[in-house]
């Protein structure tokens, strides 16, 4: 009798301790396919939020000496739709609209007339490789000043000649190393690298640096977040 009482007393205590672990079973929700998009989506959103929180406009990406830059032929193309959407470079204009004082079509000469920044920075691909390249162009902040953009707006939305599209938070757009890039290796952009104008964003993951830019919209509302972002990749993805 006594031994049975003893065992049940021990059993009661251990059962109670086991039940205390029940909250961990909530992780089982991740195994339910119907719940995965919402759960993993909020995990990704939290990660984006954290990266945006510790982004500082004063934190500069490392820059490198010319000797550390990879040779031009070893700077990868990673375009998803071939390498050349067939832009007529002579007729090319950047169409600017949205929350700007001077909307319209801007020529490459107008952008080239802005102070030129040349920097050797690291391009980090989401796949896991990284490469140090030489980039040159105008600061996006100078382009925004040129077009009279309302820099209290939240986003810059870009479309590209190859159906790619991208969007950028204003804080990153105003970062001093964020470029409207028209040259690599001190020569005009090659078609494979997004001629005539692309983004070069040393504080962002590679796919944010859209190529073959055709339109820029300054806005508070995004139609789409980006070609890859709308398929499940992170939006902010600051480095």
């Amino acid at each position: 009798m006594e031994s049975r009482r003893g065992s049940s007393s021990y059993g009661k205590v251990t059962r109670r301790e086991l039940i205390k672990l029940a909250p961990i079973a909530a992780l089982g929700a991740f195994a339910v396919p119907a719940l995965q998009p919402a759960l993993l989506g909020s995990g990704l959103a939290f990660t984006d939020w954290a990266a945006a929180r510790w982004f500082r406009r004063t934190h500069l990406a490392p820059t490198f000496a010319h000797s550390e830059v990879v040779a031009p032929e070893r700077f990868p193309f990673n375009s998803y739709a071939g390498h050349d959407p067939g832009i007529d470079l002579e007729a090319w204009r950047l169409r600017v609209d949205g929350l700007v004082a001077n909307p319209g079509a801007y020529t490459l000469e107008q952008i080239r007339a802005l102070p030129r920044v040349r920097q050797n920075t690291r391009h980090v691909c989401v796949e896991g490789w990284d490469v140090i390249g030489s980039f040159g162009g105008a600061r996006i902040s100078d382009v925004l000043a040129l077009v009279g953009a309302d820099t209290s707006a939240r986003y810059l939305a870009f479309t590209c000649a190859d159906e790619y599209y991208e969007s950028l938070d204003m804080a990153t757009a105003l970062h001093p190393q964020s470029l409207a890039c028209y040259e690599m290796y001190e020569s005009p952009l090659e078609r494979g690298h997004g001629a005539p104008l692309r983004l070069s964003l040393p504080t962002k993951i590679g796919y944010k640096s859209a190529k073959y830019l055709t339109t820029l919209t300054v806005t508070n509302v995004l139609q789409g977040r980006g070609y890859w972002e709308d398929q499940g990749y992170g939006w902010f993805y600051g480095l």
Partner: protein, 247 residues
């Protein structure tokens, strides 16, 4: 120092060293069940959460690695090996990143809770591998690998266990720090420098995973061999008839 009780009792408490959990009886009035409360709730909870998180992080990490299975340049790319699809989680790179970016927070939270509790409660002294434990490692290895006699039990964990458990904390720290560099190399540029650069951080991240992958089979083998009571104890906190204090 006579050592007459050294074989069946933990070393006497000195300079705050860990005292083995007290053995109590159920019910208190009789001498029916002897048991010791080994693992507080927070330790058990973080153990199992970490176990789940590690499975997810390794699986999604291998899927992420598959996007560029190399530690060399992109051009020319030399793939190291192909990870079997059955070991990968997430289906494609974006899916794997979602899993990784979700469970990294769960892993960090569990790690911080565990280490914080161990430090705050002083229980870390029970498992932390210190220079004093170095001498005890080889006799334990000899016991397991060469089937020699088991060294006398002097505490809840032997030197080899302390080495293994302390190593996992190290792997966790390295994986989180190198992961921070991979995730935000610009904002944590000093950490990137400490890791030897972005590509090296990727290698450190991989090494930390290999550390966990080396630990887990041994850990599971020990549980399978003679750890049933330990397994139950990690679930309910209590161990029946603990061997380190026969009383």
């Amino acid at each position: 120092m006579a050592g007459s009780t050294a074989s069946d009792r933990p070393a006497p408490t000195e300079r705050g060293s860990w005292r083995a959990p007290e053995v109590v009886r159920f019910p208190a009035s009789t001498s029916d069940v002897r048991a010791a409360y080994e693992h507080p709730w927070i330790v058990r909870a973080t153990h199992w959460v970490t176990a789940v998180a590690l499975v997810v992080l390794v699986g999604s990490g291998l899927q992420i690695f598959t996007a560029f299975p190399s530690f060399g340049p992109k051009i020319p790319q030399e793939d190291l090996f192909v990870v079997p699809e059955a070991l990968r989680l997430g289906g494609w790179l974006a899916g794997a990143l979602m899993w990784h970016f979700t469970f990294m927070w769960i892993f960090i939270a569990a790690g911080v809770a565990y280490v914080g509790y161990q430090l705050g409660s002083g229980r870390y002294r029970m498992v932390l591998f210190t220079p004093r434990d170095v001498a005890g490692v080889w006799p334990m290895v000899r016991h397991y690998a060469l089937r020699r006699a088991k060294p006398p039990v002097t505490g809840p964990y032997n030197a080899l266990q302390k080495l293994a458990y302390t190593s996992t904390i190290l792997f966790g720290v390295v994986s989180v720090l190198s992961g921070l560099v991979l995730f935000n190399p610009v904002q944590f540029s000093w950490l990137a420098w400490l890791m030897g650069g972005y590509t090296r951080a990727r290698i450190w991240h991989f090494i930390a995973m290999c550390g966990f992958l080396a630990f887990i089979p041994g850990h599971l083998l020990m549980v399978a061999l003679h750890g049933w009571k330990n397994f139950v104890s990690m679930l309910v906190g209590w161990k029946r008839d603990p061997e380190y204090r026969p009383e």
